[in-house]
Structures are given as C-alpha cells and as structure tokens.
Symmetry: C3
Subunit: 281 residues, 3 copies
C-alpha cells in the first residue's frame, strides 16, 4: 500500500503546529502522503477524539496508520502508544481515553509504549527538551512506522491491553419499558445528538417508523427532557423546531431539532453524564 498517515488533532490551523508536525513527517520520508482527517477536535476533548476515530476508521484501507493528538496530559505520566486494532489498523496516540470507542466497537489487539530513546525526534539546537509531542513524538514515530524504518514491534515495549485508559461507556440496554442508552456525540454543525442505541436494537425493542415515543433524558440524576416525540426517516416530515428521533449515518438513533440546534436550544450535551430512555408509553 501507499505510504500514508491520517491525522486528527485539536491544534486548529490558527498557528504553525500542524505545519511543523507535517514537516517532521516529510523529513523522515518525503514519500509519505499526509491526509488531514481534522484539526478541529474540540480542545482537550479525548472523548470526541475517541469517537471520531471510531466514526471513520473502518472506511480506510486495512493497514492504515492514524495519528490522533488530543493530549491534555502532555508532560504527565500518561503513556505515548501505538495500538494495533482487531480490524487491522494502527493508531498512534496518547493513551488517555482516545482509544475508548475503537476498543469497545472494534477491539484493540495489542498496544505498545513508544520508546522515546529511539522514536522521538531530538534536535541539536534543542538545548532543553521541547514538550511538543505531536511534532517530536507522535508525528515522528508514526512517520518512521509509515516509512518502514521501524516495524510495529520496534515501536517500544508491549503492555497489556487491559491497561489502556478507557472512558466509561454506558451500554444500551433493553428494559420492560423500552430501551435506554447514552448520548455518544453531537453533530456540531446542526446540534443533533447521537445515541449509542443501534437501529437494530431499537426496532427489535418494538419501535416503528412514525411512532410517537416517550423520550426522557437524564443529566446525572436530573430529568432534563421529558416529552413524546416522533420517529421519522426524514427531517421534512416534522414541523420546524420540533424535536424528532431519526436513524443516523452509522445506523444508531439520533435526536434532532428540525431547523434548529437541539444542543443549544435545550442545553444538552454528550458523554457519560447523559442518559436517554425511549419508553413504549
């Protein structure tokens, strides 16, 4: 396969960090093709980093190497690692929760801690040690791997996959009353919220297109939304500014405010503190 690296970070393009990191990659091997997944992960949001990897990873060719740098713990004891996934990819990332969803939905087969004595860029003019790990550690190590200078075994010592840091995920569950799960992520362009409840489970629980479904949203112990809303296959079927349930692009249930922003207008978010329940009555 072509030598290539796919990057996601929270750096933005507002300063020179992306360009410096990409330069290091090209200095290792100018044949490596650099592909930008995004540099707009919300700042320090390792949950989003984790979710986005899961959203797109398995659309890529087997063997693709991903570099994810959302790293609030740079300079702390969090490990810098390369994970090998069960479905055949490599992810170069701080081990800080960024592997949560890929581990949960596809599985991590093995993981290795990057050996900084070998796979970190040390420049002569650096009197002191820089802490820009995206450039000097993750980008550099990934480039060596993509270039074939090292293979996976030479990233550094393997450690047990059970040690990988994971964010808690509340699994969806069917109850007598209906089905419940969590908000895994939002669609930042429209303010829609995506649950972790698969369409198949939702249908199996007995819900049908066109149903009015009693929907309760908890934030911690508080009920922050409690209303009957329809399940439709098209936003055009519900009135403007009404809230509806739909099947999203990865076949899980989503909630949307038609021609509106559900997150903003109802002060809702995603992550472990949100629980959503669809009830039969």
């Amino acid at each position: 396969m072509k030598k290539m690296l796919v990057f996601q970070t929270d750096f933005t393009y507002k300063e020179g960090a992306v360009a410096a990191m990409y330069g290091v990659v090209k200095s290792v091997d100018s044949d490596i093709e650099i592909i930008t997944a995004t540099h707009e992960i919300p700042q320090y949001d390792t949950w989003s980093a984790s979710y986005r990897l899961y959203q797109y990873i398995d659309f890529w060719p087997k063997g693709t190497i991903f570099v994810s740098v959302v790293d609030p713990g740079v300079g702390t004891s969090r490990k810098a690692c390369v994970a090998e996934t069960e479905n055949g990819y490599y992810i170069v990332t701080p081990d800080n929760g960024s592997l949560t969803h890929v581990d949960r939905y596809f599985g991590i087969k093995t993981v290795r801690e990057i050996d900084e004595t070998v796979n970190r860029l040390h420049r002569e003019d650096n009197g002191a040690v820089s802490i820009f790990h995206g450039r000097d550690l993750f980008g550099y190590c990934a480039a060596r791997l993509a270039a074939g200078i090292i293979d996976y075994e030479h990233v550094g010592p393997e450690y047990d996959v059970s040690e990988i840091k994971r964010h808690p995920i509340m699994e969806p569950s069917v109850t007598e009353e209906g089905i419940e799960g969590m908000f895994e992520i939002n669609d930042p362009n429209f303010g829609n919220l995506w649950t972790n409840i698969p369409l198949t489970a939702f249908l199996k629980a007995g819900f049908k297109m066109g149903d009015m479904i009693h929907t309760v949203i908890y934030k911690g112990a508080d009920i922050v939304f409690d209303r009957k809303i329809p399940y439709f296959d098209s936003f055009g079927k519900a009135p403007d500014h009404s809230v509806m349930i739909y099947n999203n692009e990865i076949n899980k249930m989503g909630l949307a405010e038609v021609i509106g922003n559900l997150c903003e207008d109802y002060s809702l978010g995603y992550g472990e503190e949100y629980r959503v329940v669809f009830r039969h009555e």
Copy 2:
C-alpha cells in the same frame, strides 16, 4: 494524468464526515490523490456550491474530476449525477442546482445518473441503508471513476442536459440608461459583492475608471441602495468606509466598502432576488 479528486462540501471539519468519505476513496484505490477545495460552503447553499465550482474549475488540468456535495435534498428524488463539461471536466454531484454556473458559463456536454446498484458502497455491516451519500455514493462513485475501475459511460444512464436543475440567473443587459445585472456571490472574508457584469461589457457601456456612477440596488421590488459611487482600480483611492466599484479577480464588476463589510453594514446579499443597476446619470 495523475489519479486525483477535488472535493468541495459543506461538511466542515468539525466531525468525522470528511475523514469517512476520504477513507472510502482510499479504500477504492490508495493511489488517488485527494485535494480539498473547501469543506466550508455555507450549509445547504447549492447556489454557492455552483458558483465556487465555476470560480475555480477551469484553472485545473483538463480531465480533472470534481466532487461537490452540498445536498439539502438527500433522501428525496433529486438525481445523483456525473456531468461532463464542455471544457473537459467531470463533476460528481447531486443534481440540485450545483451545476448552474458551470452550465451557464462553460456548458454541460452530457450528464449521467449514478447507477446505485453498481456505483454505491454497500457494506456488510449495514443492516439498514445509510443516507450518507457523500461517503457511500458521490465519494465512492468518483473514486471508481478516478481509479479507472469504471469509465464515464459506466456511471449510469445518460439523461438530457435540458433536465439538469438550474437556479435562475438574471443575465446582465445593457439599456439606454446603463447596464444591469445581479449579485452572483459575496467575498465572505471582506463582505464585498460580486456582480455578473463583465468588465468588458461595463467598459463598452461607456463607464470609465474614476467615474462617479449612479448605482441602484433592488431586493425584489424594493430599492435598498441608491447612490453615486466611484469606480476605482484600488481600494486605497477611496476614503475608509466609502462604497466603491472595482474589477474583481475574474474580471467582473464588484462592490466594496473600503475597510468595511458591505454585506453586513448595508444588509445586502446575493442570489436571484438582488438586481444592481449602474446608470450613466
């Protein structure tokens, strides 16, 4: 020529849609070079999608394949198509008005509806049909075309170019009083407005550099701007915050507020409802 695809969408980089779409392209053929024209077309704005294609398309090598996904009608009966242009390019796009300007200024030679039975990605794990056409239909079909897996004839059945959906464009016209046209687009960074009146027609109508020109702007039937303003070749020649006429980068007449934002400060926009008249007196 090198295998390559040029993408424009309204997806933004705020979530994983671009990365999933690009992954599908690389899975079809990892040798395809992916070039980002922009992912910041205003949401659902097929007029802007159409204009931007027209603005840059003929600076690319003949044979280049463009993918434009601004698709408010996803899930409706709008066709998914590949258009062959008179000037030698291919555009993979929903047929929803996104071809308006290229058709008007360069011409569409032929158009084919994408055969979804062949040129759409169907994944095993998709119990239900996903509606992310950017990834599964436009990106996938374009990649097959760029890779040479299919040629243009195998995109799907040809249909008549007269059936292509077009937004109405008011042609510029010379009158006894002067010349009139419409605002085709804005410059979002500065708030300037670009008319569809060519410099050549403007000069032929008798206007000259330095003239004070009676300029009237209609929004529907209402006059929303009525003033004598100068035609200059440099923003430095007019006082700050004054409005002036200039020749833009594609040699059509533009209006600008010097060190200001014309669109915002005068509540002006672009599209079919705006008409601009330059009068001799």
Copy 3:
C-alpha cells in the same frame, strides 16, 4: 526529493481562492504534491506570516519550497520575490515583511524578483489583467520552480538582501535588573503570549524554575502589566486564572493565564509595540 509545495495564506476556505490557486499548480505539473500549512493567517498580518514561517520552516526537508501569500499591498510597488534561505529553503512571497523572522533567525542568502513576463500566468480569456497574485503569480511561479521548468536562477533578477523589507524586531537584552524582550506572537487557541527571550538566556540571567519573577509589560511607553508571577514547567502547578511564565515549544519564554485567555483578559497583544521585562526583584 518529491516535487512539493507548502502553502500558507490568509485566504481561508470560505471562498474559491485556494482551489483556484491549487488548480494552477496542478495545471503546471500534476505531480506536484500540495501541502497546506495554513490558510488562516490573520488577514493582512504580514508579521504573523513571517513568524509562522520561522516557527515551522526548519522542520521540513532541505530544498522545500514554501509559498506565503499574505499581501495587503497587492497592486502596489512591493516586489514579488523568491528568497533562498541560509538553511536551504526557498520562499515565494511578496517582499512585504513576511521574510522578517526567517531572515533574523536563519538568514536569507539571496533573493530574486519574479519576472512577470515569464513567470506569471496570462490566460487568453483575460481581457484585463487580474490582480489575484496568489493564483497567477506566486502559485504559478512556485509551481514552475517545483516542477523543474525553471531553476532558481530563472525566477528573475537578483537584488540585494539588504533591500528586503523587514519589520523591526527588538532584540532581547540582559540588563543589571534582569532580561527584556518583546512579545513575538500569541498562541491563538489559548491566548498565551510568546516572547523572543530564549530559555538559555533566561536561565543564564539567573532565573530558576519556581521563582516568583517581577514581570513588567510595556505597550509603547505605558506600563500595562506589573506583577510578580511564577515560572513553572507545568500549567497544573499554578492556580486557575493565575498568570505564569513557562518555556514554550520552541524553547523561548511564554506567558499564560491558566485556564484562561491572557490576550483577552489582560488586553495584551504582540508585535513591535510590546516590551516585556523580567526583573530579579
């Protein structure tokens, strides 16, 4: 080395300018790989353009050609040039201050004015001369250089490096009281400010990790900040919203407001009018 060009501009992706410029490059030679450093340099800010080049340039392979288009003076008499740097790179740019930092920190070896009769794109359908130099002049000339159609000697006539336009930089200096310098740039994502005082000089002046350091900031003749603040190696060591000194990713001293935005909350900026003094007492 692979044919490639690295671009930075203030165009944004909000309109079609980037795509038109990249199309010209590919029309010259479709084998040229195009890499986006950033298109989000603050509008017209040649100081930032200069700083960003300096921040990332020497992480790239020797021989890399950079194109920087931040060009408030387009249409004026500012020169369009290609500079050859002492450390082995080429920069295609308007000569408007964008070479300041690379010249200061790495050195410019030679510079040539682009010969527009040869190295500017003239299209048949251009009745009038377009003023989009990013596309027709800088992008086009850089592509010819990257493709090997011309070599550096054929860019145009050489002129003396002393004629290059430079922004004034106040050099850091050690005094009896401590050390002083300027704010060179900010970190736009967090509002931190970066001085031009190297860590080595700072340490040599006698400051140590953990010290409370009397810090005075001048804007012109006015004192706009005057306070004792700590020098730490981690943001976690200072209370939220407190201001601290740290060593940044290029080993110069920076100032940050912990979990806050120093630029905004203290109305501070960067550039020649700001002076910062670290005093022993």
